[in-house]
Structure formats: structure tokens, C-alpha cells
């Protein structure tokens, strides 16, 4: 019998150890796995490498992990936000290493990891300082840079609904990095709004099939709100 469901967030994040590479979903606050991040904080692990599009905001989730000095390295495309003060502080202090990569390259590097590829050539960033130290090649007359896969030890993802096989649907723009990150980690951990019975998800509407999911926990509605215009 296949049952990916776990009882609570603490069981969901068990096994994450010091030095782990965590792929953390979300774009800004949309799709951030806030409950799982809180559980990682409670776990007390440190020296984490976090792959997330941003550098956290306010006092919660990724920002809280950075504030509590649990993060050794952040890999992201855009660390700055109006309230990313903990990222700014730790980076300025020199206690948080930062690797900035173009957003599409970050996503595609994780896709490559999930797809079993050894990397790829892309023109994005090829003629910029972000290609420094990387292999470049002219392909059809255009400069490309080689990018390696970006796998995680764990992926922490927020989805909307899950069944016991770990099949997932997502809600609106909270989908963002989730489906790719689910494929790219050794262990994929997903928080969802609620569980449904096997067969309740329309197979035509399942976005992530359960083969990519190891543990899923039901946590209710998202807690975070975006800026309003």
C-alpha cells in the first residue's frame, strides 16, 4: 500500500540534517511552504543551503531561518525585497553566502536535476559577469554558457490538494517552482491545504504525479498575504 501522508509537519521534516540542501518553493510569499519552514526551524538544524527565488521577507519562513543563523548559503535569483532585512543583515555581516543566478537558469537547473541531465547550454547570462568561471560555447553563432544541474537533498513545497499517493494540484500562481522542485530532490516533502480521497482528483488536473512526492502533510490555508496594490 502506498501512503505518502504523514501526521504532522514535524514528522514531515524528520531526517533533515545539518548541511542539507533544501529546495524551498515559493515566489515571494505565494507558494511558500511556511509550515514546513517553521518545522525546520524547530528541528534546530544548521549550515543549510537554501534554494529559493528570494531571500525571505519579514520574520517568517526563510527569513526566520536566516535570522536564526541556520542558513550558510542562499542560492536565489532575487534576494532583495522591501522587507528582506534579515537577508541584508546576514549578507552584510558576511555570515551568509549568496549565489545569484538568473531565475530561468535556476528553474532549468533543477529541471535538469529532476530529468537526469548533466546540465545544459543557455544564452541567458552568457555574456555577463554571472558567467564568470563557467564554460561557454558558440552555438549557431550565439554565445551560450554551460549550467550544471541543481539537485536538492530535500524539497519543501506547498500545494493545494493531495491524495494518499501524493498526487498534487496547486492553487493559482502558488504553483511556481513546486512541480520542478518536486522532481529535483532526493526526498520531496509537500504541505497541502487538505487531503482528498484517491480518485477525487481528476487525473486530467493532477499537476505533480505522486511518484515525485515522498511525504505530504495537510496544514490548512496559507498564512501569508501578498502586498496589496
Amino acid at each position: 500500500m502506498i501512503d505518502r501522508r504523514v501526521a504532522d509537519v514535524h514528522e514531515a521534516v524528520s531526517g533533515i540534517t545539518d548541511g542539507a540542501v533544501l529546495l524551498v518553493g515559493g515566489f515571494g510569499n505565494s507558494g511558500i511552504p511556511a509550515y514546513l519552514c517553521d518545522a525546520v526551524l524547530d528541528l534546530g538544524v544548521k549550515d543549510l543551503t537554501i534554494v529559493n527565488n528570494n531571500g525571505g521577507s519579514g520574520e517568517t519562513d526563510v527569513a526566520a531561518l536566516i535570522r536564526e543563523n541556520r542558513v550558510r548559503k542562499l542560492i536565489c535569483s532575487y534576494p532583495r525585497a522591501s522587507n528582506s532585512h534579515w537577508f541584508s543583515r546576514r549578507w552584510s555581516e558576511g555570515t551568509l553566502e549568496l549565489e545569484v543566478i538568473p531565475q530561468g537558469t535556476m528553474s532549468e537547473r533543477m529541471r535538469a536535476a529532476g530529468a537526469g541531465l548533466g546540465g545544459f547550454f543557455t544564452p541567458t547570462g552568457a555574456d555577463t559577469e554571472l558567467a564568470n568561471g563557467k564554460e561557454t560555447r558558440l552555438i549557431n553563432g550565439r554565445l551560450h554558457v554551460f549550467e550544471e544541474p541543481l539537485p536538492g537533498d530535500f524539497a519543501l513545497v506547498r500545494a493545494d490538494l493531495a491524495d494518499r499517493w501524493g498526487n498534487l494540484t496547486y492553487h493559482s500562481a502558488a504553483r511556481n517552482f513546486g512541480p520542478t522542485m518536486c522532481t529535483a530532490a532526493t526526498t520531496t516533502i509537500v504541505e497541502v491545504r487538505e487531503f482528498v480521497e484517491l480518485g477525487d482528483l481528476d487525473p486530467e488536473h493532477i499537476i505533480t504525479p505522486g511518484i515525485f512526492v515522498d511525504r505530504v502533510v495537510a496544514v490548512g490555508a496559507p498564512t501569508l498575504m501578498p502586498k496589496s496594490a
Binding site: 535569483s77 538568473p102 528553474s107 492553487h171
Partner: protein, 218 residues
């Protein structure tokens, strides 16, 4: 004080409207963070133009009313938006496939500088005390069929942002097709920068003086 302080040309809203005028019916368009978002408010109502947002939205609509508000439905600038009827959601890798794979017709990007050969600098001032942050800028610059740069023609102290060679770190080289500033619309061509239109009250002589890069006047 330089002479540029006394000629303002178009307002930002007018530049946005001028850009919107150049976006054909049926286009798929990404509007960058900052000034380019204003183009969305200026799109002609009689054209069907679909806006893409890097976080996985095609057919992005305006700011929600309170009863439309979805806390997870945001744009690239993390502001709440809506989805038009017929719009779609997709995950990040597909979204950047749209951007990097040449599927967008037009990308409108803000810029610090644009060079005579279409090099774009819009992601970093090179200040080592500021953490680097690139987001989707390089993907948009490299991947769209056409790149429009939207910027003020000069810095606050009167220095031209249309230059022979970018002084800021490049976002991408040879990518900008059109430059829209408060003073002029300029086409980037293989033989140089061609002025398409000058803002009202801007003479050819004034524009040439305000621009470091050589211009072919209309």
C-alpha cells in the same frame, strides 16, 4: 545644470502610452518591474494583448477588487493581480520556457543604460555594498522576439543613458530593438541608432546634445 533640465518631453505615462501604441493586436507581452508596468494601463482596449508574468501566468489582469482578491495570485513585483477569462497558470520551468524559448513577442524592460549596439544594462549598478539581484531580467532580455527598453533619457544630473558602451554590468548584449525615453523613440539597427520620433518640443539638435551615442535623426 545642463540644458536637459528645462526640457522634459513626454511624462512616464505618455512614454507608456507610446510603447502601447507599438504593441500589435494579438501580441504576447511581458512587462518588466517598475516603469514598464505602466504600459499595461495604456494598452488600447480594441486590441487583444495577453500579458505574461514570470511566476506562471498568461492572461494577467488588473488589480483585484476586494471580492476578487486571491493572496496567492501575484505578479512579478509581488503585487496582487487577477486572471483574465481564458488566462492560464503554469509552473516556473514552463514560464521561463516561454521567456527563454522565443515565444514572447515583446518584452518591455526598464534600463540603466542602452548602448549603440543594443547592449542592455538593467540589473546591477556594480555597487559591492548592494547584494546582486537578477530575477528574470537576463531571461527576458535574451529570449523575447523583440525587446523594448523604457527609461528616462538622462540621469538626474544630466548624463546620457543612451551610450556608446555600457558602464554598468551587462544584462545581455545585442538585444534591445527599440528605446523609448521621455525625449524620443529610437530604433536600434545594425548601422546604429535611428530616431523614430521626438517628443513635442524636443529638437534634433537638443536630442543629439542630450545623447552620448551617435544618432541618425529622422
Amino acid at each position: 545644470m545642463t540644458q536637459t533640465h528645462f526640457v522634459h518631453g513626454w511624462s512616464i505615462d505618455q512614454v507608456a502610452a507610446r510603447i502601447a501604441q507599438d504593441i500589435p493586436d494579438g501580441s504576447f507581452v511581458n512587462l518588466g518591474i517598475g516603469q514598464p508596468t505602466k504600459v499595461g494601463d495604456a494598452l488600447p482596449a480594441d486590441r487583444e494583448i495577453l500579458l505574461h508574468s514570470e511566476n506562471g501566468i498568461l492572461g494577467m489582469g488588473p488589480t483585484p477588487t476586494p471580492d476578487q482578491f486571491d493572496p496567492e495570485l501575484i505578479n512579478a513585483g509581488k503585487m496582487a493581480v487577477t486572471l483574465l477569462t481564458g488566462g492560464s497558470y503554469f509552473h516556473h520551468t514552463d514560464s521561463f520556457m516561454i521567456m527563454r524559448g522565443g515565444h514572447l513577442d515583446i518584452s518591455v524592460l526598464g534600463a540603466y543604460e542602452v548602448s549603440v549596439n543594443g547592449d542592455l544594462a538593467n540589473w546591477s549598478t556594480g555597487d559591492p555594498t548592494h547584494p546582486p539581484a537578477v530575477g528574470g531580467a537576463m531571461d527576458l532580455a535574451v529570449g523575447a522576439k523583440a525587446v523594448f527598453a523604457m527609461l528616462t533619457h538622462t540621469t538626474k544630473d544630466g548624463r546620457s543613458k543612451i551610450v556608446r558602451e555600457c558602464s554598468y554590468p551587462l544584462t545581455a548584449s545585442h538585444v534591445v530593438d527599440r528605446i523609448y525615453t521621455n525625449l524620443a523613440v529610437i530604433a536600434v539597427q545594425s548601422d546604429g541608432l535611428h530616431v523614430v520620433e521626438r517628443a513635442p518640443g524636443v529638437s534634433a539638435e537638443f536630442l543629439t546634445a542630450a545623447t552620448e551615442a551617435p544618432l541618425v535623426q529622422c
